[in-house]
Amino acid sequence: MKTPHQLALKDLLFKMADDCLILGHRNSEWVGIGPMLEEDIAFASIAQDKLGHALALYTILHDHCEEPDADTLAFMRGEGSFRCCHFVEIPTQEYDFALVRHFLFDTADHLRFEMLTTSAFEPLAQLARKVKGEIAYHTMHANIFIRTVSNGSEEAKFRMQSAFNEAYPLALGIFEESPNEQELMENGIFGGERHLFELWLKTIQPIVHQAGLKIPSDAMPVFGGRKGYHTEHLTPLLEEMSEVFAQDPSAEW
């Protein structure tokens, strides 16, 4: 299928899929070392969901946009063709950062898929209607933990605020506009990053308030990921992810 807005659509699908793949991998790093068993399982489950969403998005790229299959897209591209935001690339570090990232990213992810349920591109709308119910579990989890942990002790509050200050400018990078943003909006494919950002801010504000945290007022968005510029952390991650696949790409699993 070739359409005039093919470029804009591909861009949208790639950035969504790449975000899910990379954050899915980062979340999976908690397997076996979570701060408690339930959190270990929660991050592992959320990771598995994210990989499932990445798979479904790469499959749409393969079926409708003349791209190679999902495995090739996930494991055989160099960092320059990835469109993920820097936020998802940052190494997992401490649980406080992982939790804040989970909260800020998954809230945006949920709202994005909600918006896409009415997309004029039907395969994406179908997927969105399916996965928004799955991500509801992620935001439910994030909303509970961000409040519980932040209100735990003075040290906890301090650490959560520090993590929030670090994460927030990176989170703003989720909403970096693509050069073809207008094309997406005019064709009814996606309502645009600016609209998503407004919804996101409105959604996180009450939770942040209940957690006793403050949104940094002078945050500068960290952009670049959507144009293929990445942090030094992405290539080592891609190499690790594709290590087994690259040994024999034709192997049957």
């Binding site: 339930e38 929660a42 499932g52 399916k130 509970i144």
Partner: protein
């Protein structure tokens, strides 16, 4: 004998979920369409419970095997989100089988899930509603973990999904 869609639906009643071996894919609600193209060619469409469900390849293979057994030498199994799964699609029989297998069946929903629904799950062992949600994430994507304060046992629920 002519191949009919009915015959295929019937055959699929004997293809089971790999995690809950008494629960058929029909009762789980993941088979959405069956199309017979000729006497030896048919296409079955399935949709995953969760997009990241790793059992989907197993299900595809198991369906193909069952179709070959009834003489369809060229079976196709498509995976699609056209008719997405939600937990209301589990049949009444399926819900009974879940309970028999030690899982709380998911409560029926109206298109959205609230946290309170997860906090008052009926224990599949003793029927008490004095239960506590331990975590909404369990051993597989479709299960949550609970604890019954009456019979003092942990149990799993097949998660409600909108």
């Amino acid at each position: 004998m002519n191949m009919s869609e009915e015959k295929i639906w019937k055959a699929l009643e004997n293809v089971y979920d790999p995690e809950i071996p008494k629960l058929s894919l029909i009762d789980l609600g993941v088979v959405t369409d069956v199309i017979v193209e000729s006497n030896d060619t048919a296409t079955v469409t399935i949709t995953p419970t969760f997009a990241g469900c790793p059992a989907i390849h197993y299900m595809q293979d198991a369906i193909k095997d069952s179709l070959r057994e009834i003489g369809i030498s060229k079976p196709e199994v498509r995976v699609s989100f056209e008719k997405p799964w939600n937990s209301n699609k589990i049949s009444e029989k399926g819900r009974a089988i879940l309970k028999e297998s030690g899982f709380a069946p998911p409560p029926k929903h109206e298109g959205y899930i609230e946290l309170s629904v997860l906090e008052t799950v009926t224990c599949p062992f003793c029927g008490s509603t004095q239960t506590t949600l331990q975590t909404p994430f369990g051993p597989t994507l479709c299960r949550s973990i609970h604890y019954c304060n009456s019979c003092l046992q942990a149990f799993e629920q097949f998660k409600p999904l909108a």
